[in-house]
Symmetry: none
Subunit: 212 residues, 4 copies
DNA sequence: GATGAATGAGCGTTCATTCAT
DNA sequence: GATGAATGAACGCTCATTCAT
């Protein structure tokens, strides 16, 4: 696709925005700082974006679009639902683990307000959830996943678990590999935390027999 | 009206702050609006709090303190780790499900910035994680929970799942009972999403060749 | 004269005001700090003074009243105008040199605004100028002072010179005796700066051609 | 209108500041009033000055710089110390007498606080004093001024006298020519107030023989 | 008289956005 | 398209003063 010559300016602005938002936070970030880091004049930003808020929105849109496209492509390469879930987890954690500044923007800055969150939930995040939901559904149909589980809860639980791994990684000072957590998270998610034979919250050790 | 300090003024201010923060977001919230909703003068707020930010911090501190105390008390009443986990989940979802405005503040406004998040993570949230971690550890020792799972990951996954249920509930327009989700979440968490016999992401049907 | 028991409170407040005004400046001075230094409640100040500004006005009034009374008494003890001028200079510099905080208030804080200055000029300062003017007049009548000099200019010049000694002393970090300057100032004031024989700016050596 | 910086905006702002500071006093002066009088937006002031205080400081710096330069130039034109002193006095009084508002700022507003005064004393005022001191020194060396007088006292006395003329002129309602006072002040300063033959504070009329 | 909690008016400054060049 | 000087709305906080106790 033909790109206008100055499209690299747009890109530079977005990259500068990620850095400044990550370092200062959305509100404390100064448009003029983003402009200067992108080596453009303040006013130039307004030729490419509607305003400060649009920087955040555009950032989210573009990153999510690519993330979801890639995820879809990778998912096509593995056959079973459990494997697909692992692909999703790995992809999610790898994507965020690659660029800490971007991760900060996604985990923190994009959650400034219910207004933002609703907007994001309604757009690409919905797509992401659908993607996961479809995998779950397939798994429930082909018998690899427990069919009695409410799909929405399963999706949210997986997303929430992954999301928390990322947030925790951001706030941690240690610099571990985020994507190494994909395996244990998926293992936990699929097999559960309970030991075999005592699985389920209602089943209790035999000795406790009379308790309700 | 008594000119004696403390009255219930402090409490009224905090409650007003919850409402205004939830409606407008922390940054857009006006101190004067909080004051007027609390029926005190603007300056009075500064007799009880250091500033706008201190309102948020105090809110978090007081709610978390009570939440954790209650959780501890409830945990003492049940014997096994799986049951304790259900208590935690129920308590978590019930607490947040009771006051939507407070939930908004906790899920959205308190996560404005890495500064806030680090501060909170370092204080009560740490306590909350420890509480959960201790339960997991007990379960792993008495054999009710799989001992090979990395405890930190388990804690974060559970917290993340619960956290996402709350966030999702806030953003949803439907007004379902949040605490009803405790059961399926804990069931999923303990038993896993995979059907028995096909558990584990690595195990694939022997003749998986044709699976899509 | 019978003084009400609590008159010592009034005095304590004024003394505290001098200290705080001197340290912080009038505008930056906090009424509450004055109250706390005087060991009274904030509101108590308003039982003795109309407001913050009244503290400054009262301070000026009382100090000037006493200063002028003392000056008058001391003046009665010496007979000639030149000696009286020395008495005035000594008294002026001694009074201010005794209490640096008070001097700061008089030299700096009381000159905050034309409003203050006009008020003060119109009251006690006018008295002080009259006192000096009367001495000058006496001197001019009895022949000890040059009669052709415009009295007002003489008074202002003397006051200005003394005033500058005080201001300079306040701002200086060295801790010299301010009243030691009375002698040279009066000497300069009476005899002039010019050497005898070359006095007067208009008189130039007849053959001035070679003067450097 | 040109959007180019510097225009005459900076100058307009300073002139507006002089007027507003003179009328309201530094503390009561509103930045927004200065802006509106200068016909610029409030924010524009901050493109040229660091803040309200910087307006005062810049005012002082620029006026003093020019004043001292001019004084130096004029001094070079007259040969003797007594004449130089008259030049200084005339220049001082003329400069202040030309712009009452500016004079108010210099005599009143710039003396808000010891902080300001120390700052000013340490900068241009020091220069001004040095200028005067050099003239005195020259006069003492060439015999036109009494060598036994302490130079610092002489300088302060002259400055103080001139300063008081200005202050007094400002506070007076009558609108006389300030620079007309230069002659009598310098005459008094050089020849002293005492009549010839009775000069000096220690010499007393013979008739007064027995007084101490 | 004394207290001190409560009041609420008041303002310097920042910064996202515009628009003449 | 690009610039960056100019704009001006917006607000958290302080503190002199009041007044119920």
């Amino acid at each position: 696709m033909a790109r206008r010559r100055s499209d690299d300016k747009r890109e530079r602005i977005l990259q500068a925005a990620v850095k400044v938002f990550a370092k200062k936070g959305y509100f404390a970030a100064r448009v003029s700082e983003i402009a200067s880091k992108a080596a453009v004049a303040d006013g130039t930003i307004y030729l490419y974006f509607k305003g400060k808020e649009d920087l955040l929105v555009s950032l989210f849109d573009e990153v999510m679009k690519e993330h979801i496209e890639q995820a879809r492509a990778e998912l096509a390469l593995v056959p079973t639902a459990p494997e697909k879930l692992r692909v999703i987890a790995e992809h999610h954690l790898r994507a965020m683990g690659q660029n800490r500044d971007l991760a900060v923007v996604f985990q923190v800055e994009l959650r400034q307000s219910t207004k933002f969150m609703e907007r994001f939930t309604a757009s690409w995040l919905q797509d992401y959830f659908s993607l996961m939901s479809a995998v779950i559904e397939d798994g429930q149909k082909d018998g690899s996943l427990r069919p009695e589980l409410p799909r929405k809860v399963v999706v949210k639980a997986l997303f929430g678990a992954l999301d928390e791994m990322v947030t925790s990684w951001i706030l941690s000072r240690r610099d571990y590999d985020l994507d190494k957590l994909a395996a244990p998270v998926v293992d936990l998610f699929l097999r559960g935390a309970a030991s075999t034979g005592t699985r389920g919250p209602t089943r209790r050790p035999a000795l406790a027999g009379t308790a309700s």
